[in-house]
Chain length 210, copies 2
Amino acid sequence: VKVTKEQTAANRETLLRTAGRLFREHGIDGVGVAEISKQAGLTHGALYAQFPSKEALAAEALAEGLRRGFARMTAAKASGELPGLGDYLDFYLSNRVRDDIGGSCPMAASASEIARQDEAIGARFTAGFTATVGAIEAALGDSPVDATRRERAIAITAAMIGGLAVARATQKSDPAFSDEIVAAMRKMTGLIGGEADASFTAEPSLPARG
Amino acid sequence: VKVTKEQTAANRETLLRTAGRLFREHGIDGVGVAEISKQAGLTHGALYAQFPSKEALAAEALAEGLRRGFARMTAAKASGELPGLGDYLDFYLSNRVRDDIGGSCPMAASASEIARQDEAIGARFTAGFTATVGAIEAALGDSPVDATRRERAIAITAAMIGGLAVARATQKSDPAFSDEIVAAMRKMTGLIGGEADASFTAEPSLPARG
DNA sequence: TGTACATCAGTGAACGCGCGTTCACTGATGTAC
DNA sequence: TGTACATCAGTGAACGCGCGTTCACTGATGTAC
């Protein structure tokens, strides 16, 4: 059942997106190749025709998720204009993002699992984290905190990842506290970053569909 | 093969500690009851005589790990004296703690996995996180950041958990960067917390054995 | 443009394996008398 | 204190199941002529 080159590429893309979403939702150890293949509308044999192992798929799905995140972030801004810290916070750290783990950042979804996975996966994580720190650093303003721009960027990125993970972990048993964590992390990262404008400490409103 | 009450209690304790360590090292989904029982010197049948399911064991092991952490933290200080923020940072966020995932805090080791586990596990996490925020809040000093004590305590606790997870995720592929993350998180959480003394921004030295 | 055929993405049965859990049984403990 | 026996923590074989991976096969694609 050979298919066109275009179909093959589309199937690969579908596998990567489906795998990325399921890995974020259920963890890398928490979902199998059968379920990924099924939700992608293929068999596991097709998956193995495109990827040598589940681990390789996981590494590529992580990279794909990071790439898509960066693309969405920059595309959201009018061309030529760089995103500010508030844009990053709205994109990354909100109740809406917390509730959409399947569609959100793979670093936050899988942070504590990465160290247990193969080195290929860790390398993708490190690349994504480094890139995010660089982007955040470029968006920093003045801050009352006596630290270098790089130190502040690292702290903000790690705090966003940790804040999301903690907000998700507490959500079922104490939803109000989970909301409080999100709000506190938005406020504190904004203050450290130097964008003390109150506009981004409130939740961003839902954008129109489509 | 009935054993004494004391032996039963000791076996339960061994199971909890062994399970806690293995869950931290390999993740809750990453280790089975056979391995836990074996390393505890028992059979899986003994495990099921003490705990109704793996999930219940995981919830109790998480609670036990948190309890032990708090006990160690307060015992480290002379009786009557409360730990300061620097003590928490030394206890929680350092290269040494990063390298000893099996012996460290279960919240940092499993942060992103908790949301996927049963509600009983999430409830234990929430209790531990709330208690930690309370303890950190009591240890805060003056800060240049314009936020409430509670907001600062939440941010520091989430940042320590996120910082540790990120430092571990990046360690294999970029050890120097991992060290830099730990140092930046120590410095930034110290500044936010209001303990700007340089003494705790450097790594604590190894305590004497025994 | 039309025909012959090599390619190879995708199918689905099968593999060995380890998972969480159950259960009939064991035998020292600890209680009742 | 000594004897009889119920208790129950722990043993180990067995269960059904889903895991990641392999492989003989299929058949439309896309190339060679």
